[in-house]
Assembly symmetry: C2
Homo-oligomer: 309 residues x 2
């Protein structure tokens, strides 16, 4: 089982605190890295975590507010200082192209690699041929154009059944590998064609992680996140500030939990806490009263998915 | 004596480390704040230091490299979240206007205060009518257009001599205050005019702090910094990397010390260390062999000038 984890690099809303940096969550999946939002300070947090700047990497920006995107500039510059060679893929709402283009011109950082920037729309936004995951986007509801994302491990072939293979006359060896990788083979004993579906269980559905970005809870998002293994959701406020949540187009911890329940996810992780909360345990309690499988993110926290089925 | 101190918010070169953020030095002078460079993470460092975001504040950018200027965006946004009302003055080389204009448009942060941005040239760049300091700029020598700055406390009137006042027939009381603030008064005893220069010593020269930004050492800078009380100088490299210093238009600690000696400053503070140095004590030793009054900056270090004459 290869590595599959979420690493939280920044979990504060709007302004950083001593303990929490601005929004940034990283999915490490095998040798690939997917970054969701990149607030100021993300590169420093990544350096503290010992993350590599040279791996296959795509960055998904939920919306064009400074606290979610300014960290891109330093990260891109530092990747150059580390002599990155692979292209960097950046996805985000309208404005992302200009943001990178103008700042690249004005700040004149000479890039050692290609940056491929794409404006997203709802649907599949990333599905690299050699990549083992794809990312879907859906409109969320914030004060500006904003998107939520789902990181989706590609489906894996079903489990191989050695006894079925033997009974069909296919001996252990190279022919098993062919079958496991989805190719039909001819049985040396019977001379008949054996197809993969005769020896493989049902394809295993890829695991999924939802990232809400800044948003009100919506029916559309509950549907978008349905069946996610993990949901990382805006939890800017507690119950006592539910009015602020509405006014500022954010969610309370309780609203995040209600959506998690409706979407039937396995694990809810609260993040993007208002700087007013020195301690978020009350928010976690409020959420758990609705959806018990809730935890709070904190900077440098790692959530391991490799043990999930 | 009012507060007069330098607070180092970021002391790393190019990339941040666990211990050092990107370039930012703050002069706190009474109720005024002058910020020299504003690399990514400056606002978080300022928050950790408990600095106010509402005071009279001017920001001086040495050059338009991301690691010296990107932090402006988050700082400006956070000042708005804190409902700043006073105008913010920003000074920097060509590009500073566009940098703020484009990012303000793309990131759409609604400012609660006015931002007055000026492109600097050599000479006095800031001399506010109600401000107790001025700032001069001079061209430095980096890979892009760059400036060094001197923060200059305005000259203060000479010390008041009570005995001289009494002997000229001016009794203690309101008339002394008038004389101390530079106004002539009439002696109630002699009926004669007493002028301030009869009772005040020579005007006291304001204290000065030089900030080099990223630069090679130059004759012009040695002249510009002549007689500074404190000089904060580029010390990216140690002796063993003097070739890198030349190639990348930076200085070694030793070169900083040679310039400090030539400029006859009182105190040299090394900063902007390459991330390769986990420990900068060797650099300090190299500098002290040339200029003994040398110390190394570190993040959150405070250098107090209020005790200097």
């Amino acid at each position: 089982m290869s590595d599959f984890r979420i690493r939280f690099l920044g979990t504060s809303s709007a302004v950083p605190t001593r303990e929490r940096g601005l929004s940034c969550s990283v999915v490490q999946y095998g040798n690939e890295v997917a970054i969701f939002d990149c607030g100021e300070g993300s590169q420093r947090s990544a350096i503290a975590a010992g993350l590599s700047f040279s791996k296959d990497c795509s960055i998904f920006v939920t919306h064009m507010h400074g606290d979610h995107v300014v960290g891109l500039l330093g990260l891109m510059q530092t990747m150059s200082l580390y002599r990155r060679e692979r292209p960097l893929y950046v996805f985000g709402p309208k404005g992302i192209v200009e943001f990178i283009k103008y700042n690249h011109e004005i700040l004149g950082f000479g890039l050692t690699y290609e940056v491929r920037v794409s404006v997203v729309r709802s649907g599949v936004v990333f599905d690299g041929e050699h990549s083992k995951y794809r990312v879907r986007a859906e409109r969320s509801l914030h004060s500006v154009l904003s998107y939520a994302y789902v990181f989706e491990e590609k489906d894996k072939p079903g489990r191989f059944d050695p006894r079925a293979a033997l009974s069909l006359g296919v001996p252990e060896g190279p022919l098993w590998s062919r079958l496991q990788s989805g190719h039909a083979v001819r049985s040396p004993r019977t001379g008949r064609i054996v197809s993969p579906d005769q020896v493989l269980g049902r394809p295993r559905r890829g695991r999924r992680i939802g990232f809400s970005g800044d948003t009100r809870p919506t029916k559309k998002l509950a549907s978008f996140f349905r069946g996610c293994d993990v949901l990382v959701f805006d939890s800017t406020y507690g119950d006592q500030n539910s009015v602020n949540a509405k006014e500022n187009f954010h969610s309370t911890a309780r609203e995040a939990a209600e959506l998690a329940r409706e979407a039937n996810v396995k694990q809810l992780i609260l993040t993007h806490f208002s700087a007013r909360y020195k301690n978020v345990s009350a928010l976690v309690r409020q959420a758990r009263s609705v959806f018990p499988k809730t935890i709070a993110a904190k900077d440098q926290m790692v959530y391991d998915l490799s043990e999930l089925s």
